[in-house]
Structure formats: structure tokens, C-alpha cells
């Protein structure tokens, strides 16, 4: 029963997902429509129609280009309203198709005006990653000098943080470092202002542990780690380091890790062999820095404790183009500035941001996130001193890898998109199949089976369930599947319920009275009555068909040869009753039971 409940829930979920899936079409934007007139209707008729459209919709059609003359392809300014009006207007018989003229773009480039200076974001291949994830609803704790609400964090969400230096709830930044680090992780993006951040739909938790001078106590940092773990942070970024080994801090890190927090720390800027604490503790992803050319930044620590490398930038005197540019505060005045910084401090938040993107894709365990980050990194050969760890951070691959390994609706539709054509809206509006009747028929058949079970006790089996599905609805979503260069009828057939099969191959919307009747249930029952398990397939099919036929009589009584209307209705209801009687006969006490 539990399994059945799960199946029903799955099907309801599937139906819900399909209803809510916007489809490829809904993702595009358009402000004009394409009309392709049939070749065979002649130039004069086309001209007439063009004029008629111009008149009735107050819209002027023009040829798309000089090359579209022969194909009679016209373009007209308009939105979805005009599209629907045109489709309803009867012009359909003169055109091959009317469709939105989608505006295509490669990958979404953010509209932040200074984005062009962020070589570091392109360096981690961020744009394809943004197609999949923005780090939505992931909380990233920034353990640093605090975060000030600078203008380019205006759309960024904040979680409640704490100032461990001054022991107060307000954790604003009096140094500029923490705000800069936070900007790399989640600067407001696509807000037509300033620069971009990596996981800009993530939530920042400001935890101030470093004073205005840039130093802080290990005890405060350890407390901040526990605070983050206890208050819902999923990622921790620590662009800080130094000092000696601390039992207190190591325990805090182990605690946060055990609570599912991914912890990232900068390797240090002393160009020495081995990362600083805390990057070198177990469960901490230590990040080395790359310069704009992708080489090890001259200051970056290397060797033991380096797990991965990310852009940290390199500033040459007054030339700051090689630095990492974010919005922060001027420590002297407290005013908002766009400043380029360098350091492993800047490299770590790149990794924290991508970790948030991966987390938002549904990879939850810190060790799994670390695996994804490392396996997707661009490995560097001949790295004998371990300058790069697993390699250079690659956001696009990380997000792609995070999307594998789990079957999501997103993957399923991506597969359909990559292999063919799918427009679920068409299923619902256009009538290839009507989705809700399918779901209702399937649920109805389970309900009927459940009722029958009440009177004639029997066990739920896989064969019974299969029968119920095949009798009532089939694996119906296959019907909306189209593959390039493949005939569609096998999908139609596989996606049909048994009563529909008589007309599935020829894509006929009408039911075949031979298959949509008592004949198949009767045949199955006679064949399998003596078989312990297949008998239940027959029972399930009969129950499913009872519901299918009854529902069809009500929703869409249309039969091949017989036609639609009262006669079809009587035929369907009579056969539904016969099916019910057959089930009752088989289930009646005294009939053989397994």
C-alpha cells in the first residue's frame, strides 16, 4: 500500500511538474511573430491575406529579409496576444506556421556595467553555470571583518549575523575586506549597477571576527564557525589565516562539518610551502590564488593543504586591472567604493560562491560538494609543488557535474530538449493528449481498485498496478515525446492506454471500438485466469479500463466508425459496466484466489 501511495504521489508530482514546467518556449522572449505562408496559394492570395491582417489587427507585415521572399516568410511586430488572435483568425489555412520570433542569445551576460572588468568570473567559466544555478536560498557565512550594506548588495539577501569583536548583533564592516569578499560571493547581479557576484541569489551571513586592523582572535573565529553551523549556514568562507594549531578551532570545524557545512579557507599569502591554518585543517577546502594569466599568483602559498586554485588577482603598483574588483567600503571614510584587491582572500570566495551554486543544485553533503568542485576543476599537469591542488576552479563543469547523478525533471527535460522537441504546453492546450484527464483516470482506477479491495479482499501486486496503469492511462507522457528523425508512432503506442491502442498508430484522436471495449479485458481474463500473477494484470487492466471507458463516455465520447454523441456514449458506458461486472466475477469469493 505504501508503494502504491508513493506511486500515486509520484504521478501527481509528475503531473504537477508538467503543468508547471514552462517549457522551452516560455523561456524565450520575443516582440515579433513569424508567418510562413504556403507556397501553393499564390502571390495574389498572399497579398490579400497580408492586407486583411493589416486591416483587422492594425499590424503591418514585412518580409524578414530579401532571402525570405521565395519562402513567403513575413515578420510582424506583436506579442502573445496577437499570436493567439492570429491563430484564431482563420488565417491558419493559408500559412504553414505562425510562431514567436524568439530573440536568441548565447549565454546570459549580466547587465552590470563593470562586468567587463571581471576577468576572474569569466576565468572560472561562470556564464554557462548561471544557466543552471544562482545559488538560490543557500546561506553563505562570511567570517571576516563584517559586511556593510554597500549599494551593489542592494538585491542581495542577508541572514542574521553577529559581531564577535564588539559583541553585538550589527556586523558591519570597518575594514573593507569582508564586504569585498562577500561581493565576490553574492554581489547583486543583473541590477544594471556595478559588478557581478557568483551566487547572487544566495544569502549572506555576516560574521565579524577581524577588527578594523585586520586581525582577530582564534577563540572568536571558532565561536563564529559554531554560530554559522547552528544558524543555518550551508557554506562558510574564511578569507583569513595564521597562528598555530588550535584544538578549539579544529573541534569547531569538525562540528560544522558534521552539521553539513562546507568550509572554505584561503591558503595564505606568504608564498610558502604549506597552507596556513585554518585551510590546513581536515574538512576545510584550502584555496590557492591564480593571477590573471592563470599561473600561480606570486604571493600564494602552495604544497600541503591546497585543495583547489581560483583567481586571486595580481596588482602591479597603480595598475589594478589584474586585481579582483568588487564593491566595498573605504575604511577611512566608510563610503562605498569599487576597489580591486588581491590575495588568496579573494580566491577563497570564488570557491565558496561555486560551492553555493552546487549546493543549490541539490548536492548537500560537504564531502560531496568538495568532490564535485575537485573533479570538475581543470587539472594542471606538472604541478610537482602542488600550486593548484585538484586544479583550477571551473564553475560550469561543477554545476554540470552537480546536475548529473540525480534524476531531476530538469535533466529529463534537458534530455528531451537535446534530443528532440518538446513543448508541454502543446499537450495541454493543443490537444495531443489532455493531461489532467489522464492523471484523473489513473487516480480513478486506483480508487476503484481500492474500493473493490474493500469488498473483495485481494493483495496489491506489481502486475495489478501495471494493469491499472495500462488499462487507464498508459505511460502517457511518452505521447508528447518527439525525437529528431524518428517516427513518433512508437512513442504514441507506448504512451497509450490499452483501449487507445487501436488508434494510436495512425494518430487518430478517436477510439477504436475493438480496443475500447470489453473484448481485451475478457481475452486477458480468459487467458490468464489460471496464472497466479498474470491474473492480477488482467484484473488491473479491467479495473483501469472500467474507469477509462466511463471517463471517456463523459469527457470525450468519440469512436471510429460509430461517431460521437449518444451512441458512442451508450457503447462506452455499456462496456464500462461489462468490465466492472467482469472484475466482480473474478474477485467474487469462491473464484480462485492466489
Amino acid at each position: 500500500m505504501k508503494r502504491l501511495l508513493l506511486l500515486v504521489l509520484f504521478l501527481v508530482g509528475l503531473g504537477w511538474a508538467l503543468m508547471n514546467y514552462q517549457g522551452l518556449a516560455a523561456q524565450g522572449t520575443y516582440d515579433s511573430l513569424i508567418l510562413d505562408f504556403r507556397e501553393d496559394i499564390g502571390a495574389a492570395q498572399i497579398e490579400n491575406q497580408v492586407e486583411a491582417i493589416a486591416k483587422s489587427f492594425n499590424a503591418s507585415l514585412r518580409y524578414n529579409s530579401e532571402f525570405s521572399f521565395d519562402d513567403h516568410i513575413f515578420v510582424v511586430q506583436g506579442d502573445s496576444k496577437l499570436l493567439n488572435n492570429l491563430k484564431r483568425s482563420g488565417i491558419g489555412k493559408y500559412v504553414e506556421y505562425i510562431e514567436p520570433n524568439y530573440i536568441y542569445h548565447a549565454y546570459a551576460t549580466p547587465n552590470d556595467p563593470e562586468y567587463s572588468k571581471q576577468w576572474n568570473l569569466r576565468g572560472i567559466n561562470i556564464e554557462p553555470a548561471w544557466d543552471e544555478s544562482h545559488g538560490k536560498d543557500v546561506t553563505v557565512a562570511v567570517i571576516d571583518t563584517g559586511i556593510s550594506a554597500v549599494p551593489d548588495l542592494e538585491n542581495t539577501k542577508f541572514a542574521a549575523g553577529y559581531d564577535f569583536v564588539n559583541d553585538r548583533a550589527d556586523a558591519s564592516d570597518d575594514n573593507g575586506h569582508g564586504t569585498h569578499v562577500a561581493g565576490t560571493i553574492a554581489q547583486s547581479t543583473n541590477n544594471k549597477f556595478g559588478v557581478a557576484g557568483i551566487a547572487y541569489e544566495a544569502q549572506l551571513m555576516p560574521l565579524k571576527v577581524l577588527s578594523a586592523g585586520g586581525g582577530g582572535q582564534v577563540a572568536d573565529i571558532a565561536e563564529a564557525i559554531r554560530f554559522a553551523a547552528d544558524n543555518g549556514a550551508q557554506i562558510i568562507n574564511m578569507s583569513l589565516g595564521g597562528g598555530g594549531e588550535s584544538q578549539l578551532m579544529q573541534e569547531a570545524i569538525a562540528y560544522a562539518h558534521s552539521k553539513g557545512v562546507t568550509i572554505i579557507a584561503a591558503a595564505g599569502n606568504a608564498n610558502r610551502n604549506a597552507a596556513e591554518y585554518p585551510a590546513r585543517y581536515p574538512h576545510v577546502i584550502g584555496v590557492a590564488a591564480l593571477d590573471p594569466a592563470g599561473s600561480k599568483a606570486p604571493y600564494s602559498n602552495f604544497g600541503a593543504g591546497i585543495d583547489i586554485a581560483a583567481p586571486g588577482g595580481l596588482i602591479n603598483g597603480e595598475d589594478k586591472l589584474g586585481g579582483i574588483l568588487q564593491n566595498t567600503v573605504n575604511p577611512q571614510t566608510g563610503e562605498s567604493v569599487f576597489e580591486a584587491y588581491q590575495g588568496t582572500s579573494m580566491a577563497a570566495p570564488h570557491v565558496a560562491g561555486v560551492a553555493a551554486l552546487v549546493r543549490a543544485m541539490g548536492v548537500e553533503q560537504p564531502d560531496d560538494i568538495e568532490d564535485v568542485l575537485k573533479h570538475s576543476a581543470i587539472a594542471v599537469g606538472d604541478d610537482e609543488l602542488n600550486h593548484f591542488g585538484a586544479g583550477k576552479l571551473n564553475a560550469a563543469e561543477a554545476v554540470k557535474l552537480a546536475g548529473k547523478g540525480k534524476f531531476s525533471f530538469r535533466d529529463f527535460f534537458r534530455w528531451l530538449r537535446d534530443n528532440g522537441y518538446l513543448n508541454p504546453k502543446f499537450w495541454i492546450d493543443g490537444g495531443v493528449i489532455a493531461l489532467w484527464p489522464k492523471v484523473l483516470m489513473m487516480l480513478g482506477s486506483y480508487l476503484l481498485a481500492w474500493l473493490l479491495k474493500h469488498y473483495f479482499p485481494f493483495a496489491w501486486t506489481v502486475s495489478l498496478g501495471t494493469g491499472l496503469v495500462m488499462g487507464s492511462s498508459g505511460v502517457f507522457f511518452l505521447r508528447g515525446t518527439y525525437l529528431f528523425d524518428a517516427p513518433q508512432w512508437p512513442f504514441r503506442l507506448a504512451g497509450s492506454a490499452i483501449p487507445e491502442m487501436g488508434s494510436a498508430v495512425q494518430a487518430n484522436g478517436l477510439l477504436n471500438p475493438l480496443t475500447a471495449s470489453i473484448l481485451i479485458p475478457l481475452g486477458l481474463t480468459l487467458l490468464f485466469l489460471g496464472h497466479t500473477s498474470l491474473k492480477w494484470f488482467a484484473v488491473g487492466t479491467t479495473i483501469g479500463m472500467t474507469v477509462f471507458l466511463a471517463a471517456s463516455a463523459y469527457l470525450n465520447p468519440a469512436l471510429m466508425w460509430i461517431g460521437s454523441g449518444a451512441i458512442a456514449q451508450v457503447f462506452l458506458i455499456a462496456n464500462a459496466l461489462l468490465c466492472l461486472a467482469l472484475v466482480r466475477l473474478v474477485l467474487k469469493p469462491g473464484a480462485s484466489t492466489p
Binding site: D144, T145, N175, G176, H177, H180, L210, G213, G214, G215, G216, Q217, V218, A219, I221, S239, L240, G241, G242, G243, G244, S246, A266, G268, N269, A270, R272, E276, Y277, P278, Y299, N301, I315, P331, E339, Y341, Q342, G343, T344, S345
Partner: protein, 74 residues
Amino acid sequence: MSIQVTGTVERKGFGSGTWALVSEAGETYELHEAPSELQQAGVKVKVRGQVREDIMTLAMIGPVLQVEHYERLS
């Protein structure tokens, strides 16, 4: 741990900037809350101070040195 270091003060460009003491042997120390007289690049100085093992910083350029006593050499 009290140590004595002779070296030159430098400004290191991490974050909004950090004061460092680079010893004659080439070891870099981060000056923790540097006295204002030492906040000047190029100053040669002899410093006695504590290496703070309990402090972490955003600059991460080397051991954190808290100055207890200093003597300007230039």
C-alpha cells in the same frame, strides 16, 4: 614567545593594506596593531615583541608580531 627582529617596514597590498616587517634574513612578519611611528614604508627598525599564535589575519603574510619595544635605526 618573545623575539627580536631587525628589518625594514614594508606596506603589503592585501586587503586595504597591511604593515609588515621584513627581517634582514628575509622573513616577513605582520605587524599587529603597528605603532604609528612604524606605519611608514622603508623605516629600518629593531623590534622586540611577541609572536601571537592566537591571532589570525586577512593578510596572511607570515607570523603576527606584536611590538613591545622598538628602536628606529634610520
